[in-house]
Every structure is written in structure tokens, then in C-alpha cells.
Amino acid sequence: MVNELPYQRMLQESLKGELRVLNAHLPSEQKPLANLLVEESPNVVCNDGSAHLFKRKELEYLASITSADEQKTLLLPMLIEVNPGQDEMAIICRGEVEEKVVSKILDMPVTTKQRRITVYKPQLAIIRKVLKTTTQYLFSPKILQ
């Protein structure tokens, strides 16, 4: 009897590949808005070695709604954490700047709990419409458990 069909092995490998590429697009380091504003072509290097380009218009929009000090603390791209099987997602934030930016875009107050701002899918669509390149999806490690 055949122990493991080549098809099965191939399938298993391709599925493992899917897991590998899941978070490969995440930036290896986040950059402050103030630094990105002075760069000629603002970008960050991702874990897979590719470059993620920021749109200047978006950076300028963010600069217009934040003060000079806040620009130094606002790290980009902002990460949106996707939780398994839930309708809500979370924006990971380190300070109050992200809270300010999100509340400004959504035009409603938001609260931070455990360094995360909870947003729902319709709200996420609004955020992504405004901040296309300055936000990125992060698949929660909980998915992989």
C-alpha cells in the first residue's frame, strides 16, 4: 500500500507555503512619519525583502492632522490585526497619536484597550480608503495556534 501519495505531499507543502507567506509582507521596521516626510521616495523594507511605498498625499494628510511632536511618534505603516473568525479587527497603537488619527478619520471617538483600537469592518473600509499605503494587515498569531 502506498504510504503517502505524491499529490498529498505536494498539497501539504503548498498549504505550509500559504502559512509562510501569510505575514511575509510585514515591515521589518516601522518608521516615524517625520522621517518619511523628508525622504525622497518614502518606503519601508518588508520581511520578504520587498519595498512598501508610501503615497506622499497620505503622508501629507497625516501630517496635516498631527502636530510636529506627534509626527515623530506616529510609526508607519499602522498595523491592523486580523483576529481569526471575528468581525472586529484591531489597530495596534503605541501612543495616543494613532487614537487621534483613527478618531479623526472615522469622525467619532475611539478608545484604546490593551494597546489596541477595536474597529469593525465598515469602519475598516473607511480607514483603508483614506490610508491605503500607510496601513497594513497583520494576521494575528492566534490564527496559527
Binding site: 500559504e18 501569510l22 509582507h25 512598501h52
Partner: protein, 209 residues
């Protein structure tokens, strides 16, 4: 009816199959989340593409209208003479961005701060200025539409691919693994029963002696 995977009915194979089942379930869960995000982004981009197409048609109709008025005011020969020097290269910043694992292109028209109009402002009318401004807006609209359309295409392909994997996992791989695991359990139970019957028979034979 899910297909049974051909494996040896041993405990080792059962452990392997259970591991494979857990991996397949995890990946299915993750891909479903990814698929929902991709669909949300696709719908958003589709909406924006429609708006961008409307915008481009609007901008071009305005630009052509302004151009015909300018041509009427200056005359074709004079206008062509003025426009000879206005040709210039445009600079577009290109790169890529990532939407839930799908890499899409990103274009941005760079505005040249030193640029001049190229034509004499003294000899021409404000109609030509307006036409030039509208033509620049057309260029911007083209770049925006190019980005949106290629993004839409890439996202569509990615959704299709992910959907096929999710469906294969949901209707083929996971049921197949579950059926095989069930089959192996039944096989082990059957072996246990056989073993018990054999022992009973041996016991009876010993007693008979």
C-alpha cells in the same frame, strides 16, 4: 462522498493524519479570513475604479472643450506653434504595496516644482492656461485609473486562487482526512474485537484440554 486516503492502518499513520487535519483546518480558517479581507478590498477598489472612470471621462470632456475654444481663439497654426515647446517628460513614482498578501502596484505622479508652462504667457490667452491645467488633471486621472485597474485585476485573480484553495480544503481535503481517520478508528476497533474473540477461543481450547 469524500475519497479515502490510501494509508497503512497503523497508529503512526493515524497520528500523521490527525496532524495533517489540524494543519488543514488552521489554514482553512486563516484563508477564510484572508478571503473576506480581499473581497472587502476588491469591492472598495471596484467602487473607486467606477468613480475614477467617471472622473476621467469628465476631465477629458472638459479638456477637449477647452482645447476647442482655445483653438478657435488662437487658430490652429498659432496654437501648434505655442504648444511645440510644452512637451515634457512626466515623472511617476512607482512601487508596490501589499494587500493581505497580494502585491499590487502603486503609482504616484510627481509634480515638478521647477516646471514652466513652456509657452509664452504674454502672447497667449487665459484659455490656453485653462486648457493646460485641465490636461494636467487628465494625466493625474490616467495614473490613478491605471493603478486602480491593475489592482482590481490582481485582487480578482488572488480572490479566485484563494477561493479555490478554500473550497478544495472545505470539500475535499478536510472531509477526506476525517473519513480516513474514522476508517482507521473503525479498523482498530475491529482489530480489538478480533483479538478479544481470538483470546476467548484460545481460553475455551485450553479449558477443553
Amino acid at each position: 462522498m469524500p475519497q479515502l486516503i490510501k494509508v497503512r492502518p497503523t497508529k503512526i499513520e493515524l497520528i500523521k493524519l490527525r496532524r495533517r487535519l489540524s494543519l488543514a483546518s488552521r489554514i482553512q480558517k486563516m484563508l477564510k479570513d484572508r478571503l473576506s479581507i480581499l473581497i472587502m478590498e476588491f469591492l472598495q477598489i471596484a467602487k473607486e475604479t467606477v468613480e475614477a472612470k467617471k472622473e476621467i471621462i469628465d476631465q477629458f470632456s472638459k479638456a477637449y472643450k477647452a482645447l476647442s475654444i482655445t483653438a478657435g481663439y488662437h487658430g490652429y497654426i498659432a496654437l501648434e506653434k505655442e504648444l511645440v515647446a510644452t512637451e515634457r517628460d512626466i515623472e511617476i513614482a512607482t512601487g508596490s504595496r501589499n494587500i493581505a498578501g497580494a502585491r499590487v502596484p502603486s503609482f504616484e505622479l510627481r509634480e515638478d516644482e521647477k516646471k514652466g508652462e513652456g509657452y509664452s504667457l504674454v502672447d497667449t490667452s487665459s484659455w490656453l492656461d485653462q486648457t493646460a491645467q485641465l490636461a494636467e488633471k487628465c494625466l493625474e486621472a490616467i495614473v490613478v485609473l491605471a493603478e486602480l485597474q491593475s489592482t482590481l485585476e490582481i485582487l480578482g485573480k488572488e480572490i479566485n486562487r484563494t477561493k479555490r484553495i478554500v473550497n478544495a480544503l472545505e470539500y475535499l481535503v478536510i472531509p477526506g482526512l476525517e473519513t480516513t481517520i474514522r476508517f482507521l478508528y473503525m479498523k482498530f476497533e475491529e482489530r480489538d474485537r478480533e483479538e478479544k474473540a481470538r483470546l476467548k477461543r484460545v481460553k475455551v481450547l485450553i479449558e477443553q484440554k
